[in-house]
Symmetry: none
Subunit: 178 residues, 2 copies
DNA sequence: TTTACGCCCATAAATACCCATGTTATCCCA
DNA sequence: TGGGATAACATGGGTATTTATGGGCGTAAA
C-alpha cells in the first residue's frame, strides 16, 4: 500500500539539511519521485520531483508527501470554477504555502526558514507517518501531541467499552525498521 | 505536472526589473516559452515568447502565466456564444489589459507602470504560485490575503473533511479526502 | 538629443552535487 | 552459534553551479 508509517527522529545539520527516513524515501520513490542521483533521471523542482511540504493548518508541524498528496490538493480545487475569486483565494492557501523540496543524492532535504519556524524546529526533527502523508515535528512538541492523542483514544475506548488491547506506552521511536 | 507552486519575494531594481523565480521560469519554459538569450531561439513578443500579464480582476495583484494561461482564457471565451454581449465584455476584461512581457537573458521582466500601480508595487514583489498561473503582490498586501485565504480553507476543510475518517486528531489535515 | 529598452558582464550568496566517515543492523561461514 | 565481513544509513563537510541582483553600453524609439 505504500503508506507512511512509524516515526523517526533525525538531526538537522549546519546547512539545514535533514535525512528523510529511508522507509519514507522508499514510499516517495514508489509514489513517482525520481531522485537526482542514485535513483533515476533528474527532475527539476517543479515537475514531479521533490516532496511537497506546507505548514500544517492547525498544528506546529510541517506536512509533507509526494505526488499522491499533490493530487489530493488538486482534487480540492478541481471543483471550483476557473478564474473565480474563490478559486484564486483557495489556491493561495493550497498552492501558495506549498514548498517543493528536492531530495539530494543522499536522501536529504533542506528545510526553508519559513517552514522551520512554523514548526519550531532547531536541531532535531521527528518524522511521523500518517498514511498518505507525513508530518515533521519538533520532537518535544510531538511528544506532547502524542500524549494528548492517546488520552483522547482512551476516552473513546471508554465510550465504546472496549477494554481490549493496550495503549503501549513504549512505542516505536527512532529506527523502527521497515 | 508543471504547476506554479510556492511563493517567492524578489526585488525590483532601479530599472524596474524583477527576477522571475527560477522554478516559475522552469514551468514557463516547459510551457512553451523560448527565451531571447541562453534559452533557445529568440521569440518576438507576440509569438509565443513572453509571459502573459494582466491586472487581477478582483485583487490588487497582477496575474501572470504562459501559454497554458492564454489557452485557458481562450477556452473560457469559446464557451460563450459569438457576438454575445457577455463575450464581448469578457474579451475586453480578459484580453484588454493583457501585456506580454519579455524575459531577458537573466530571467527578468520589466513591469510596466500600469501594472505596477494596480498592484501597488514599489521595491518588492511577491510571486505566488496558483497552479496554472501565478500572481504578483506587494508583499504586505499578500500577507493579508494569505491570512484570509487560510481562514477560508479552514472552513472548507470542515465541509469536506468529513469523510468520516477517524477519531485520530492528526489524521486528516488539509483536505481529508479528494 | 533624450529616454527607454534590450543585451551583456560581474559578483555575492544560496543551492545542488559529490565524496568521506562512524555506526548499526545483516549476512555468511566456519 | 559466534564472529568477522558487508551493506545500508545518517551525518559532516568540500566544491561546483545556479540564482538573484547591480551596473554599463549600444541601439531604437520618441
Amino acid at each position: 500500500m505504500d503508506r507512511f508509517v512509524s516515526t523517526f527522529t533525525n538531526k538537522i545539520d549546519a546547512k539545514g539539511r535533514v535525512s528523510i527516513p529511508a522507509p519514507f524515501r522508499a514510499v516517495l520513490e514508489r509514489d513517482g519521485y525520481s531522485q537526482g542521483t542514485g535513483g533515476g533521471p533528474p527532475a527539476s523542482a517543479q515537475s514531479g520531483g521533490g516532496i511537497y511540504c506546507y505548514p500544517s493548518l492547525d498544528a506546529a508541524a510541517i506536512d509533507g508527501g509526494g505526488e499522491r498528496l499533490a493530487q489530493k490538493i488538486d482534487g480540492l480545487l478541481s471543483g471550483l470554477a476557473d478564474y473565480s475569486d474563490e478559486r484564486d483565494e483557495l489556491s493561495v492557501a493550497l498552492y501558495g504555502d506549498v514548498q517543493i523540496l528536492n531530495i539530494d543524492g543522499d536522501g536529504r532535504i533542506v528545510l526553508p526558514e519559513g517552514l522551520r519556524t512554523h514548526a519550531g524546529l532547531t536541531t532535531l526533527v521527528t518524522f511521523v507517518g500518517l498514511g498518505d502523508k507525513f508530518q515533521m515535528w519538533e520532537p518535544k512538541a510531538f511528544e506532547a501531541r502524542r500524549k494528548s492523542a492517546r488520552e483522547k483514544v482512551q476516552e473513546h475506548r471508554k465510550l465504546f467499552g472496549q477494554g481490549g488491547r493496550s495503549a503501549n506506552p513504549s512505542d516505536d521511536e527512532r529506527g523502527g525498521s521497515a
